[in-house]
């Protein structure tokens, strides 16, 4: 495993026993006092919204609801309305393409960089930590900076392409055919540091002897990578991909900052559609429907994550 914190897992938790004089239930009560606030908070801020979303998806919400407080149940009306809307299918497809494309790009670039940084060279540590910077900047800010860079007429990317003799008039964000690709590329840029750091940590754990043995056997670099690095790294790879999936599938701020879901809904995803339905069109029932679909997709991957987590922790 990659961190000292993880190895600590083996240490069996020992109960605080000294106050033996006190009755047992009082001791338990005091102990629960430590945990209860967090449990309460998580029930209110995660448990309740999950339940509430399901209920809301069967309610008729209008802007009026906020004054009258009345949101009558309307069965599957919201669901059928959302599913019948062609935009839902589009958003679902965009979500899948956006997530898969982002993950693939982030992972490959992150792994390449992680492998590169396992070399020993001067300033390695400084360069490695500076690469984190894009990941730390608020996503909405990154989105806005890229929006400027990708501007069709005045953006620096097109001027650069012009200067080296390529097509310098690409409508990166304004053409429905290009926009999703551009958004994916920007998200890859955002995700590279995270992938790199975790994969780099995983690479540190690959036993040196394996590489020495491979070198003695005269294995090529590619063969060593395929037969030693990748298999040893597999648990870390699973975690990186699942966590990457979790954070990518719900991205909202980046897309809003870059394209606002446009042009012509070309970058509308389940996340932005939930937002549009609820907070722009003020139809919270429809928003809840899309949100529930998003949760369902996340839940499938949560199972993967917990599986991966379990096989590793034990």
């Amino acid at each position: 495993m990659t961190t000292p914190t993880v190895t600590a897992r083996g240490a069996a938790p020992t109960a605080g026993v000294p106050a033996a004089a006190r009755p047992r239930y009082r001791r338990r009560l005091a102990q629960w006092g430590f945990v209860a606030p967090a449990v309460l908070f998580m029930l209110l801020f995660f448990g309740y919204p999950l339940v509430r979303n399901v209920v809301m998806s069967f309610q008729h919400y209008t802007p009026k609801t906020f004054f009258t407080g009345e949101a009558p149940l309307n069965g599957f009306d919201n669901w059928s309305a959302v599913f019948r809307d062609a935009l839902f299918g589009k958003a679902l497809w965009h979500t899948l393409v956006f997530t898969a494309g982002s993950l693939l790009g982030q992972f490959c670039a992150g792994l390449a960089l992680a492998v590169f940084f396992t070399r020993r060279f001067p300033l390695n540590g400084v360069l490695r930590s500076l690469i984190l910077l894009p990941w730390l900047v608020p996503m909405v800010v990154s989105g806005i900076v890229w929006r400027r860079i990708l501007d069709q007429d005045t953006g620096v990317l097109n001027s650069f392409l012009d200067a080296i003799g390529l097509d310098g008039h690409t409508p990166w964000l304004t053409s429905p055919h290009m926009a999703l690709l551009s958004v994916i590329l920007v998200n890859i840029w955002i995700g590279i540091p995270f992938n790199m750091v975790i994969l780099y940590g995983g690479l540190q754990e690959v036993p040196r002897e394996l590489y020495e043995a491979a070198a003695l056997d005269g294995a090529s670099a590619w063969r060593t990578f395929r037969s030693i690095t990748l298999p040893t790294l597999r648990p870390v790879i699973t975690v990186v991909l699942v966590l990457g999936f979790m954070s990518t599938v719900k991205i909202l701020d980046l897309i809003l900052a870059l394209t606002d879901g446009g042009p012509a809904d070309a970058t509308q995803t389940l996340g932005t559609l939930t937002y549009q339905n609820s907070f722009v069109r003020l139809d919270f029932g429809a928003g809840a429907v899309v949100g529930n679909v998003l949760i369902l997709i996340s839940a499938v991957f949560a199972v993967f994550y917990l599986r991966a987590n379990r096989t590793e922790g034990k």
């Binding site: 930590s129 730390l136 750091v197 975690v239």
Partner: protein
């Protein structure tokens, strides 16, 4: 093997890697450079920007500070509040889950992992209606609470695994000396967990500082507007004034840059420790 003993050829190759690494870094950081560069040439407006600012023009920054200074303060206040809430709730919980054999510990830890996977927009969707009922819309406290939810599960997982590594004897010794459970926690456990507290607090701050979604959805007026929301609305109104927009962006990215320089070891620990778990 120390670098001095290396043969000249190998050493040259090593510096070659440094050059390659610097090139990669330059490409990765280019957008951030461009943000700074544009910010320093406010009058360039919609025209193309010089690759290097010829003379420093700080008027973009003064304008951005005028327009966004208040929102920066809001961000700072909300983020610090979120950090306090997050640590106050997560640290005792992490200790309880690491130390006491409570029934349901496994379920709670499991639940903590699950919560990290709930899409924020889904939470906002349900939270908004309750916030309206509770009068928490457009309030600092409401936003702090929502932002704290971004850091709490992460902090519990991170601090719990750290606190599990504290030797049981140390805690038992403290309790033998007559310190109560709470005192042991405050005087012995927390100081020993300093690093994991800093890492958790740092990430709670970063999560909250970067938050856009709760800021966007849980506020309907301009009363509580963090800088992420401020900039987003800024481009709507000032799309011709990229100098000021970029200056505001630079200002909003400054805390991240400072934290990276001051606390890189905690950040690296947080990214790996908090997520690989």
């Amino acid at each position: 093997m120390a670098a001095e003993n290396v043969k000249p050829r190998t050493r040259r190759r090593r510096w070659g890697s440094t050059v390659a690494g610097a090139l990669v870094l330059a490409v990765m950081l280019f957008p951030l450079y461009w943000m700074l560069d544009t910010a320093l040439q406010p009058e360039a407006g919609l025209l193309e920007v010089d690759p290097v600012p010829h003379r420093l023009d700080l008027s973009g920054f003064t304008k951005a500070l005028d327009d966004q200074g208040g929102h920066l303060l809001t961000s700072l206040l909300v983020s610090l509040g979120a950090v306090v809430i997050c640590l106050a709730i997560a640290a005792p919980a992490a200790y309880g889950l690491a130390r006491f054999r409570l029934r349901g510990t496994r379920t709670i830890v499991f639940g903590t992992l699950i919560t990290q996977m709930v899409p924020g927009i889904v939470i906002a969707n349900a939270l908004y209606t309750s916030y309206v009922d509770l009068g928490l819309v457009n309030s600092y406290f409401g936003l702090m609470l929502a932002d704290a939810s971004l850091g709490i599960p992460f902090s519990i997982v991170l601090m719990r695994s750290f606190m599990q590594s504290i030797p049981g004897e140390v805690i038992e010794a403290a309790e033998m000396d007559g310190a109560g459970r709470l005192r042991t926690f405050l005087r012995v456990v927390l100081p020993m967990s300093r690093n994991s507290l800093i890492t958790s607090g740092l990430f709670a701050f970063l999560f909250s500082w970067s938050d856009f979604m709760f800021a966007l959805t849980l506020n309907t007026t301009d009363d509580v507007k963090p800088v992420t929301l401020g900039i987003y609305q800024y481009i709507g109104a000032h799309v011709g004034d990229w100098g000021s927009v970029m200056a505001a962006s630079v200002l909003s990215a400054v805390p991240a840059a400072i934290l990276l320089v001051l606390a890189q070891k905690y950040i690296a620990a947080g990214i790996t420790g908090g997520s690989v778990k």
